[in-house]
Amino acid sequence: MILDSFLVYALLGGIGLAVVAGPLGCFVVWRRMAYFGDSLAHSALLGVALGFLLSIDLTFGIAGTCIVFALAIVGLQEQRRIATDTLLGILSHTALSVGLVALSLMGSMRVDLLGYLFGDILAVTPQDLVTIYIGGALALVVLAAVWRDLLAATVHEELARAEGVAVFRARLVFTLLLAVVVAISMKVMGILLITSMLIIPAAAARRFARTPEGMAVLASTVGILAVALGLSASLRWDTPSGPSVVVAAFSLFLLSLGLAALRERAHISPAPRSADRPGRTGP
């Protein structure tokens, strides 16, 4: 049986995205930036509107808008006048609404709004694949370059700074990477579901990882599995593809919780760690 080409494109697009989303998603989870990722994704709709208005490639429109949005948030955070979650709440919904208003004002042009909100993985073209893989590879290379600095800044920002880590640069680069990933994954996952691909695989990977790097690789693997499972389900039961991938990812997350619980029961050594260590001879 020959797979339909659109299905192959969908699978390749989803896999490319999952590979990039794994390590980046780990940092989103470690740095507690889930809401930030969501807000960034919401601003992407404004990018779509701008892309149409300026008649430029939508990916560039989205990437540009997300980058400006991300820089604005990083800049406003430095002010420390408004709590970050309030700030994100204001900006994210405003960006989403302005995007919707702008799209509606374009009148005659028919825009597939649902496609932007929830993604249309089955409409992925070879050109989209090129965007995903080139953008994704670049993002991974840059992330690898700032990995140590970013991890140090995540563990303890002041410690990192005292030891000469360029903390602000690492944070800025990471924010820009997130913007790029949101832009390239828009077509596949849609505005409302992008964050799930960052967070759910990372969360599922946590229980089985012993190192940060291990968790990143595992998160990518879980993401790939979720894409494959979700697409198969979508094909079989004719369900929307993006949400099917998310549901698959969530199932894997539940499975990871179950497996972790089983494993903990298998290793019956819940005694306090310090008790079996030498040096403690009692009072």
């Binding site: 989870v29 470690w30 140590r148 600095d149 991890l151 140090a152 995540t154 563990v155 303890h156 002041e158 410690l159 990192a160 700074r161 005292a162 030891e163 000469g164 880590v165 946590r206 990882a209 012993r210 190192t211 940060p212 291990g214 968790m215 760690r273 310090s274 260590r277 030498p278 040096g279 403690r280 001879t281 009072p283």
Partner: protein, 277 residues
């Protein structure tokens, strides 16, 4: 003055304001190689702010900080909460900002008396264990200057004494300068070459014995502080040797503690009161 006796870090005329509140006013401080300097002061006296300025984490509003060229700093922050969601073995915590071989890591851990923690998860460490790991990090980095912010904050009393002895031995072996920040007066004093008493400005400065009788010191910490200091040094010399083993911070060695607990609690309470001169 020989070149290696030049200060590791020297700050002069440091003022720092947050908004309209001036936290530090015209503070001067320096740390030389091989010297243990204790920065003491009540809560809100600007000790941590001053340390952050010396470390280059914060910029002073006015004033100058001169670090010796190529200075390597080992920083032991007051708390290092490691989120359970981040899988971080001790070995990765040790190599957070610079790589190191496994042998070097084991050597550093042995030196701080925690050789079997290398593959433990950092989020499961006790307060005392974490302090040792952070010290091992500083050793691995071959630091010229150790800066410890309230190193005993999450460590029980016996652990505190072990920790200060450890810091003293590290200084002796590596010749690095040490700056500790504390409001635990008596403990600091026993292990220290020079005490700087801070309360927005430098109130007094000198060897522990002198400072503990200084009027400015007594005004801030109360007359009991001087006696509790004396009690501690006595006990310290006779009772508490370190065998290099890990002493869990939650160990319940209460029979050991009793002799100390009075003198220990006093300055704690007083430190909380911000007595502005």
């Amino acid at each position: 003055m020989s070149p290696d006796q030049a200060p590791l870090v020297a700050a002069t005329g440091i003022c720092k304001s947050f908004g309209r509140r001036e936290v530090l006013h015209d503070v001067a401080i320096e740390v030389r190689p091989g010297e243990i300097v204790a920065l003491i002061g009540p809560n809100g006296s600007g000790k941590s702010t001053l340390a952050r300025i010396l470390l280059g984490i914060l910029a002073p509003t006015t004033g100058q900080v001169v670090r010796r060229p190529g200075l390597r700093v080992g920083y032991v922050p007051q708390r290092l909460p490691i989120d359970i969601v981040l899988p971080l073995p001790v070995s990765r915590l040790l190599t957070l900002t610079a790589p190191a071989s496994r042998e070097a890591m084991i050597r550093a851990l042995e030196e701080v008396g925690a050789p079997d923690l290398l593959d433990e998860s950092a989020s499961s460490l006790s307060g005392g264990e974490l302090q040792r790991i952070l010290l091992a990090r500083a050793l691995l980095r071959d630091s010229d200057l150790l800066v410890l912010d309230e190193p005993t904050a999450n460590v029980d009393f016996n652990g505190q004494i072990d920790l200060f002895e450890l810091i003293g031995r590290i200084r002796g072996r590596h010749g690095c300068g040490v700056l500790t920040i504390s409001h635990d007066l008596h403990l600091v004093m026993a292990a220290t070459d020079r005490v700087i008493c801070l309360n927005g400005h430098v109130c007094c400065e000198g060897v522990p014995g002198t400072v503990s009788k200084h009027p400015a010191y007594l005004q801030i910490f109360g007359p009991h502080a001087a006696t509790s200091f004396a009690v501690y040094t006595h006990d310290h010399d006779h009772e508490h040797g370190l065998d290099g083993a890990v002493v869990p911070a939650h160990g319940h060695d209460h029979d050991h503690d009793h002799g100390h607990s009075h003198s220990h609690d006093h300055p704690h309470g007083r430190g909380g009161k911000t007595a502005r001169p």
